[in-house]
Amino acid sequence: MARGTVVERGTQDGSRTNADTRLSVEQVSYAYSPNPSQAPIFTLEATSFQVKPGEIVAVLGPNASGKSTVLKLIAGALQPLSGRILMNGAETHLMEPRARAQRIAMVQQESPLLFPAKVWEFVLQGRHPHGKSLRFENDGDVAIAKNALLQVGADHLTDRWMDEISGGEKQRVILARALAQQPALLLLDEPTLHLDIGAQVDFLHTLKKLTNVNKYAVVIVTHELNLAGEYADQVVLMQKGKCLRVGTPASVYQRDLLEQVFQTQLTVEQRVNGRPKVSVVESSE
């Protein structure tokens, strides 16, 4: 199946799996129940997609559609009920935590620090998986952390305190820590949630550049349809635990489909660069 082809829910799309595939999500399902004896309150139905090196895949959908569950499953934090998630042939939830963190880095929404830390201390944490449990960073670790800060354009923040820098700067530093892990797969959970539009574009532009240069495979969960349409190579559209479509933004952003998923009136235009643009139609009432 060629890249960009629309994949209907529940169908096998393993045909796209090849030697170039870095991440393969194969018919993965999951059920969440607060108590094992109770019926699940959320289920994720069979979901499949692949990610190649240098590719950004955005997982889209309304609240409670299962986007973050997909990310947690990929990260190995949850065990699939059925199906499997392979990264270079190995199932992610079966990897040892340290081995997994050497290959997969997660950029989450900012979490408060219990005690203040300097930016460089924070970024050096990304070197933790590359050594024994008790370790002291060496010159090589420092060079990698400095390079990570340079790559995200935050090297000027090195000696600042984490609680003194802005939200946009903080997200760049969190990204730098993920880069310091030297991962093959980058996972981002709504990384631009609290950022202004300028900082959002700035962040995603940096991410796109780094993905191209370092050949990361990237999966990003976001609510930003237009930014995903602009920066993602593929999108996975979800609703109520179901994977509705997988494909290029242009192929997935169909007005009827988006209106049904997001329960609002929308227009979808194709821009000159081939990327879709979604606008909300103002209600006449």
Binding site: A77, S111, L114, Q125, L134, F136, E137, Q181
Partner: protein
């Protein structure tokens, strides 16, 4: 960007060890029998570097048999409480956590008070009677650790919020039991129990208990220190730590058991000495930063120094009467903690 190195940790620990040595020498000087500070320091250095085999005979017996064992007890109790407090602050992600937050001290107190009540009725041999109360305390602490662990699990794993709530509730329950037990004690024993609840280093300890305390401290400290890098990441949250390669559940279990055991051991032999395990970690954090690879040994030295100073004050300020060491740490610690809290808020 200058990361922490092993040599930096070693140099700073060396400085702290030197401060502890000076504090110990000064603490050895104070007491009813006058001792020359210069002569004592010279003798101790001579013994430490192997140049002489014993302390001057003029005051040697008092130093060896009375003051030094008590100071050694203070060192290991202070270090244990402080390391436990530092560990619980990371484990529970709560800067207000101290060694007693999970109720271990109350469990130990119930065990000890029960032992105090039972002991007169058992006609024990003197060597067993000497360890009976600490043993009761340790059994109480161990049962509390197990109870809080079982109650604090969520879906089979430690959950820091559930653990904290369970510890607070178990602690409150045992606290009420202590009050109940005190009313059952004869009035002659009440003073001893109150001293024990405030913290007390004056009771001579059998050598075997000293050995257990020292061995327990080094084992517990080593286990916790091996997770120091992991604890740095745990400060940012369990999810963050997991994504950075920490085996969160394993680290939580090891730190919970080791820090609780340190607390149980310390409380069993000295009672509940308050504030040391809360304030020393914060003071050390202000001096050396938040990195647990430095903070844990710094807290061990800091706790030892704090308790030796407090105990020296406790036995000299109102001499020949003696104050409870826990009363001294509370009187000094409470205002110091308020100062640190206000400074943090500012």
């Amino acid at each position: 960007m200058q990361p922490l190195t092993l040599s930096k940790v070693a140099v700073r620990c060396g400085i702290l060890a030197l401060i502890l040595f000076v504090v110990v020498v000064i603490a050895l000087k104070f007491g009813a029998v006058p001792v020359s500070l210069y002569g004592l320091a010279k003798d101790l250095i001579g013994v430490l570097i192997g140049r002489s085999s014993d302390i001057s005979s003029e005051y040697g017996m008092i130093i060896r048999e009375i003051r030094l064992p008590r100071i050694a007890l203070g060192i290991f109790v202070g270090a244990s409480l402080s390391v436990a407090g530092t560990s619980f602050q990371a484990l529970l992600r709560n800067p207000l956590a101290d060694p007693y937050v999970l109720g271990v001290s109350y469990g130990a107190a119930v065990g000890s008070v029960l032992a105090l009540i039972i002991e007169p009725h058992l006609a024990l041999r003197p060597e067993i009677a000497a360890v009976f109360t600490p043993l009761g305390g340790f059994i109480g602490a161990t049962l509390t650790i197990a109870a809080v662990y079982l109650l604090g699990r969520y879906h089979g794993d430690i959950d820091s919020k559930t653990l904290l709530l369970s510890g607070v509730i178990v602690g409150s329950f045992f606290s009420a039991m202590i009050l109940l037990l005190i009313t059952m004690l004869p009035s002659s024993s009440t003073r001893g129990v109150v001293y024990w609840l405030m913290g007390d280093l004056s009771t001579p300890m059998p050598p075997v208990l000293g050995w257990v305390l020292r061995t327990g401290f080094f084992a517990g400290f080593a286990l916790i220190y091996l997770t120091a890098s992991d604890l740095n990441l745990l400060l940012a949250g369990e999810k963050e730590a997991m994504h950075l390669g920490v085996d969160v559940k394993k680290v939580q279990l090891v730190v919970y058991l080791a820090a609780s055991a340190l607390t149980g051991l310390a409380v069993s032999v000295s009672g509940s000495i308050g504030y040391v395990g809360l304030i020393v970690p914060h003071v050390m954090r202000m001096i050396f930063g938040t990195d647990y690879r430095m903070l844990l040994p710094a807290s061990a030295f800091g706790g030892a120094i704090a308790v030796v100073i407090a105990d020296t004050m406790a036995r000299t300020v109102a001499a020949p009467s003696e104050l409870g060491v826990g009363a001294v740490t509370a009187i000094v610690g409470a205002p110091l903690f308020i100062y640190l809290l206000r400074r943090r808020l500012a």
